[in-house]
C-alpha cells in the first residue's frame, strides 16, 4: 500500500478565539519515523492534539488509513490504533507504575492478562519500570516518567505513535537511552510522528522531517537531506537550532 498511514489535508484548528493551525498539510508514511520540527508556538503540539481529537478540526481533513477521522472523539481515535504521549507525559502520579501500565493495556483486565512477552520486551527497553513497578508514578524522575509514558503507548501493538518532545528536560545520558529505545522501537515497523525541538536527538532517529512555522508546514523532506545541509538548517530552524544544541 502506498497511501500514507496518516494524512492531514489543509487542517485549520482554532483554540477558543485563536486561530492556531492555518492549513496544515502533512503525510506520515507507514513504518517510518517522521519528525515534526519547529520553533515554540509553531503549532506542533496543536497538530498532535488535533490528530488525537483533543482539539476540534475547524476545516480540512485528517485521514488515518484513508479514513476521515476528523469528526471522531478521542477514545474512538485511540481505538483505531493511535497512541499519544503528550508533552507533560500524562503519567497518573497517584497510580503505581503497574497501574499506569494496566490502564494503557486496554485489552487486559488485570496485569496477568497483558501479553507476557511484550511486557518483557518493554522491560528490556526501559528496565527502570520493572524496578519501580509498585511505586507511585509521581515519585519517578523526569526521565523515568518519560519512559513510563512511552512504555504505556507501546504496551499493546499500535499502528501510530504520536510523541511530543520526549527529550524535553532530560539529561544527555538519559536522552541517549531514549535514542536506543526508539531505535529498537523502529525495528518493529511502528509508524511514529515525533515532535521535537532538539535537532540532535531528532537527527539520530528521523527518516523524514517536516518543519512547521506559523501554523503551517514550511518544509518536507528526508532527514538525511536536512542533516547534510547546514544552510537549510539555518534557514528553517534558525536560532532555535543553536539554542537547543
Amino acid at each position: 500500500m502506498n497511501t500514507p498511514l496518516l494524512q492531514l489535508e489543509a487542517v485549520h484548528t482554532h483554540i477558543g478565539a485563536y486561530h492556531i493551525l492555518h492549513g496544515v498539510d502533512l503525510q506520515v508514511p507507514r513504518g517510518e519515523l517522521t519528525v515534526l520540527l519547529g520553533r515554540n508556538g509553531a503549532g506542533k503540539t496543536t497538530t498532535l492534539r488535533t490528530i488525537m481529537g483533543l482539539w476540534g478540526v475547524s476545516s480540512g481533513c485528517v485521514r488515518f488509513d484513508g479514513e476521515d477521522i476528523s469528526a471522531r472523539s478521542t477514545p474512538e481515535i485511540a481505538h483505531l490504533g493511535i497512541a499519544y504521549v503528550p508533552e507533560n507525559m500524562g503519567v497518573f502520579a497517584d497510580l503505581t507504575v503497574r497501574e499506569n501500565m494496566l490502564l494503557a493495556a486496554r485489552g487486559a483486565r488485570s496485569i496477568e492478562e497483558i501479553d507476557g512477552k511484550r511486557l518483557e520486551w518493554v522491560f528490556d527497553l526501559f528496565p527502570a519500570l520493572k524496578r519501580f513497578w509498585e511505586h507511585p508514578a509521581g515519585l519517578l524522575s523526569g526521565g523515568q516518567k518519560q519512559m513510563l509514558a512511552v512504555a504505556r503507548a507501546i504496551i499493546e501493538p499500535r499502528q501510530l505513535l504520536l510523541i511530543d518532545e520526549p527529550s524535553k528536560g532530560l539529561a544527555p545520558a538519559i536522552i541517549q537511552n531514549m535514542v536506543t529505545a526508539f531505535r529498537e522501537l523502529k525495528q518493529t515497523d511502528t509508524t511514529i510522528l515525533l515532535v521535537e525541538q532538539n535537532f540532535n536527538f531528532a537527527r539520530q532517529l528521523g527518516d523524514r522531517v517536516a518543519v512547521m512555522d506559523g501554523g503551517r508546514i514550511v518544509h518536507v523532506g528526508s532527514m538525511a537531506e536536512l542533516a547534510g545541509d547546514e544552510d537549510l538548517q539555518q534557514r528553517l530552524l534558525g536560532l532555535s537550532l543553536a539554542a537547543h544544541q
Binding site: 477514545p75 503528550p86 497517584d94 497510580l95 494496566l102 504505556r152
Partner: protein
C-alpha cells in the same frame, strides 16, 4: 513469565512508598483531646460513637459528591435532593411494612429496612441518571452555569418532592429492634449508631476495594487526575462520569435513609440543609479524594458531638472552625488530589 517480582540487587535510591498517614492520626488525636475535656469516660464513649455514626452517614452521602467533582470538576449543588428523596422513599416503604418494623424481631426489621434502602438507592440512582442527562450535561465545562443549574435542579426537585409527599415534616421511626442502647460497662451506645457505623464501614470498604483493586476504580482515580489522558488511552470518560454520578446519587439516597432514621423526622428541606456540611467535608478531605472525604466526615461527626456536649453554642460553628484549621494547615485539604 510476566510477574516482575525478581528483586534487583542495586535499587536506585527512590523514596520508599510513603503513605501520608498524618491525617489519619487526626482522628485519635481529636478523640484523645476530647477525653479529658469531657471528663467521664462513659460519656466520652457515647459521644465518640455518636460522632462516628454521624460521620459515617455523612461519608456515605459525601463520597459521591467528591468523586463527581474530582472526575469532571462538576460540583453538584443539587446533591441534597437525592438525600431527601432517599429518606422519603424509605418513609413510604417502611410505612407499608409497619407489621415488620414494629415486630421487635431484628430479622423482620432488617427485612423491612433492606428493601427501603434498596428502593432509595435504585430510585435515587435513576433520578441521578436523568439529572445528569437533563441538568448537568448541557452546561458541562461552564462552572457558573453549573452552579446555577444544579441549584435550580434542587429547587425543582424539592418542590416535586413536596408535590408527591407534601410539604410537612413526616416521622420516620426506627424499627423496634434498632431502638434503645447497648451498655458497655457504664457507657451506653445506641444500637442504631452501631448499625450506622457498620454500614458506613461497609460502604467505605466496598468503595476502597473498587477504587484500588478493579480496573474501573483505576480509571476513576486516573480520570480524577487527568481526564484528557484517560480519553487518549481510549476510554470514554463521559460513560465513566455518568456511572460515578449514578453511583454517587444512589449512595446519597442510601445516606438519606440512614440520616432520616438517625433524625427520625424528615422534611423536604433536609437535603438542602445538609449541603453546607457536605461541602465542608469534601473541602476538608481534599476535593476528589475519597480517603480524605472519609476522614473529613468522621472529623466533622466527632467534632460536632464533642462540642455539642462541651459548648453547645460553639457546636454550631464547629464545622467551619474545623475547616478553617485544616485549610490553614493544608490549603488544599487533607489529601490534595494531584491535578494538572
Amino acid at each position: 513469565m510476566n510477574s516482575p517480582s525478581t528483586p534487583t540487587p542495586f535499587l536506585d535510591a527512590l523514596p520508599a512508598v510513603k503513605l501520608d498517614r498524618i491525617p489519619l492520626l487526626l482522628l485519635p488525636v481529636l478523640a484523645l483531646l476530647a477525653l479529658p475535656l469531657v471528663g467521664s469516660f462513659s460519656t466520652w464513649v457515647t459521644l465518640t460513637f455518636a460522632g462516628l455514626a454521624m460521620g459515617m452517614i455523612i461519608f456515605i452521602i459525601a463520597s459521591g459528591l467528591t468523586l463527581v467533582f474530582g472526575l469532571m470538576d462538576v460540583l453538584n449543588f443539587g446533591h441534597g435532593v437525592f438525600i431527601t428523596l432517599g429518606a422519603f422513599l424509605a418513609a413510604s416503604v417502611l410505612g407499608r411494612l409497619t407489621g415488620w418494623t414494629e415486630s421487635g424481631s431484628l430479622l423482620l426489621n432488617l427485612v423491612a429496612v433492606l428493601p427501603a434502602m434498596l428502593a432509595a438507592m435504585v430510585v435515587a440512582g435513576l433520578v441521578g441518571f436523568a439529572f445528569e442527562r437533563l441538568i448537568i450535561r448541557p452546561v458541562y465545562g461552564q462552572p457558573l452555569k453549573q452552579i446555577m443549574i444544579t441549584m435550580g435542579g434542587m429547587i425543582v426537585g424539592v418542590e416535586l418532592i413536596k408535590v408527591i409527599w407534601g410539604a410537612q415534616a413526616i416521622p420516620l421511626p426506627l424499627p423496634t429492634a434498632f431502638r434503645g442502647s447497648l451498655l458497655f460497662g457504664d457507657a451506653a451506645v445506641e444500637k442504631y449508631r452501631l448499625i450506622a457505623v457498620v454500614v458506613g464501614l461497609g460502604v467505605f470498604a466496598v468503595l476502597s476495594w473498587v477504587l484500588s483493586r478493579t480496573k474501573l476504580g483505576l480509571l476513576i482515580r486516573a480520570g480524577v487526575q487527568d481526564r484528557e489522558m484517560v480519553e487518549s488511552l481510549g476510554y470514554r470518560i463521559g460513560r465513566l462520569f455518568i456511572g460515578v454520578f449514578v453511583a454517587g446519587s444512589a449512595l446519597a439516597g442510601l445516606g438519606g435513609v440512614m440520616w432520616g432514621l438517625y433524625q427520625q423526622t424528615i422534611t423536604p428541606e433536609m437535603g438542602g440543609q445538609i449541603n453546607v456540611l457536605l461541602f465542608i467535608v469534601i473541602i476538608i478531605g481534599g476535593m476528589g479524594s475519597v480517603g480524605g472525604c472519609f476522614i473529613g466526615s468522621l472529623l466533622v461527626g466527632l467534632m460536632a458531638n464533642y462540642t455539642g456536649f462541651l459548648a453547645p453554642k460553639v457546636a454550631l460553628f464547629s464545622n467551619i472552625l474545623l475547616m478553617v484549621i485544616v485549610l490553614m494547615w493544608r490549603p488544599e485539604g487533607l489529601y490534595p488530589v494531584g491535578k494538572r
